[in-house]
Amino acid sequence: MKRVGIPHGLFYYYYYPLWKTFFNSLGAEVVTSPATNRLIVDAGIQKAVDETCLPIKVYFGHVFQLCQQNLDYIFIPRLVSIEAKSYICPKFMGVPDMIKATIPGLPPVIDIVIDLSKTDKLLKKDIFQLGRLFTRDNKAIRNAYKKGLQEYYFCRALAGQGYTMSEAIQVWEGTSQDITGEYDLNLGLLGHGYSLYDENISMNIVNKVRAMGCRVHLPETCDRKSIEAEAATIPKRVFWTLGRKMVGSALHMDKRKDIDGMIYVACFGCGPDSLIGEIIERKIKNKPFMLITIDEHTGEGGLVTRLEAFCDMLRRRRASSENNISSHG
């Protein structure tokens, strides 16, 4: 049985169910690196160029970790575009080359190109090419991909119920996740999935705000159509897929009555975020908004203080808007 490694980073948080099902259906074993930990982060920081953003560095760490295991292939797709006329980010387009140039001793790399910006014919061709590594049966490849897509949609539906993508993947794999709790605030939490849902990169921000009594609303829990509709109100179409999703979600949440405030988690050095954050900040009219920039710095105190202050402010704001005069004067 062939062993395929999938690094636990970047678009793992969106597409892992798809690829795992795909490879498993073709009779391959899927190996992933463990969830991000300090060792992986350190290895990534050491391998990657200083100027790259933290999620990419962490991805380097995961790849390095996987290299230690006995693998037949390592799956590092070149994600150019996952929808028409949009891109992810230049770094995603170069990730396989960056890794090949900096990490020695890689197992054979599967670097298929996923580019739907103009046509989806190329993807089909690449999927078949990918499948031929394991079987010659075209029908089996087609079925495996279909099955993968089904699992992916299922996982996305799970995320719609309030799980983060990382929790949704764990639920999908059979471990139960408890997200019920006493919540009195509704908080919109935005950010690129690979930084927001990675508990090490985002310093577990999702569970931190949950513990402070906030029900978390993520882009995945919002209605996809209204996100697109809101994003279309911007004068020029945002050509980064995630950027557009964030702008759309922010504007959508801005109009929703039940949401009290929004937090945007950006990575230091992220190109799209540097402009998207600015656009969101200028377009949002009704809700408090906070932008948090994270990097490999590990001091959690500052983050906790800012989150607490933000939640306190939201509670006070709600109290004053309900005309409740505090009995403490």
Binding site: E51, C89, P90, K91, G94, D97, F239, G277, R282
Partner: protein, 371 residues
């Protein structure tokens, strides 16, 4: 209508000529000063890249002078530049400025569309006059570039570097002021003559390839004038990007003059196999090309957090190892500590010089009579 546009190197000379040819009142951007930087940095997003901040400074200065229309370029990603104009417009509107913005979107090498956009800019001008204006601007651009190339060649060789720079600056002024072909040609010829007459030194000459992001390469203020500084250290700089080549490759589909763009892309192939936006692939390809042409070293420059250049930088290490060509990467932001930048350049040049001497050891021994 008083029209203005952002500054990028010497491109303000041909752009001004073009807009004047369209019978528009032009307020050209001021040279980028400390004040420009300060204004731009103050009002731009903190983590935006340097060109956006400099653009903002340019716009605020010219809007204060009375400009009411901004001419800006656009694009469709994945590089951030495509979204500059949108962010800049929002910020300037929020600052309370009243203006129109004309965005020339990248036309996917369809020349007719760009031509239409330019034609629409000019009010009350005939098609003939538009063609004439474009042709004259193209001529001026070519002359300016000839002068730039000459300076890069001569600055490394002359003994009196200040004199060379002075002649060059006077030449640029003369081309800027020239109103017809004859005057431009005269200004070019006389400047080139003056440059050629300057006496040379006989120290070791180093050939440096300069690769990276287009704005940082073209605009001296965005790279703290390292091109001239390298010249002063006896380094002959050849850039990977010249404006005419860029226009030829990206706007005109390589139709006006011979292009080596495809060759550069092919050179990048084993290292960076895909287009990554901006000039990432060109940076890698040019480095390989420079190495094959036996340059002494390559310097990659870009604005801090430039995404395509980071990808290029990641693979440049491997190129450097395999071709044995020293490569150095420098990122620039509003931090203007030129001391650190110049020290790094001097160290790099010293290292290259020592490599050359090591390589040609027998020759130097001969000269010193130690054979």
């Amino acid at each position: 209508m008083k029209i203005t546009f952002p500054r990028m190197g010497n491109t303000h000379i041909p752009i001004k000529a073009l807009l004047q040819g369209l019978k528009l009142e032009v307020i050209p951007p001021l040279p980028i000063s400390k004040k420009t930087m300060e204004l731009g940095v103050k009002y731009s997003p903190e983590y935006a890249c340097l060109p956006l901040k400099i653009n903002m400074g340019n716009f605020i200065e010219t809007l204060d002078q009375g400009a009411d229309t901004i001419l800006m370029a656009g694009g469709w990603g994945p590089c951030r530049f495509g979204y500059y104009a949108q962010v800049e417009r929002d910020i300037l509107k929020d600052l309370g400025y009243q203006f129109d913005i004309v965005i020339l979107e990248a036309p996917d090498s369809r020349l007719s569309e760009l031509f239409k956009q330019i034609k629409k800019l000019g009010k009350n001008v005939s098609l003939f006059e538009v063609c004439k204006a474009i042709k004259f601007a193209w001529y001026k651009l070519n002359t300016v570039e000839q002068l730039e190339k000459k300076l890069e060649y001569i600055l490394a060789r002359v003994a009196d570097k200040n004199a060379a720079e002075k002649v060059y600056n006077n030449g640029l002024d003369a081309i800027d002021k020239a109103g017809c072909y004859e005057e431009v040609a005269f200004a070019l010829r006389s400047t080139l003559n003056k440059m050629e007459k300057l006496p040379h030194h006989n120290r070791i000459l180093l050939k440096i390839g300069l690769v990276g992001e287009i704005y940082t390469i073209l605009e001296p203020a965005a790279n703290y004038n390292i091109v001239n500084y390298l010249g002063r250290l006896d380094g002959e700089v050849i850039r990977s990007i010249y404006t005419t080549d860029w226009i030829n490759d990206h706007l005109l589909g390589g139709k006006i003059k011979k292009s080596n763009h495809q060759h550069i892309i092919n050179c990048a192939k084993p290292y960076l196999n895909y287009w990554v936006g901006g000039h990432g692939q060109e940076s890698v390809g040019s480095t390989v090309d420079f190495a094959q042409r036996n340059y002494h070293g390559v310097i990659q420059i870009g604005p801090m957090t430039c995404m395509p250049e980071i990808v290029a930088q990641s693979v440049l290490g491997k190129v450097s190892d395999e071709y044995g060509i020293p490569c150095m990467t420098m990122y620039f932001d509003e931090h203007a500590g030129t001391g650190g930048i110049y020290t790094r350049l001097e160290a790099f040049m010293d290292m290259l010089q020592r490599r050359v001497m090591e390589h040609n050891k027998h020759k130097f021994d001969l000269v010193a009579g130690r054979n």
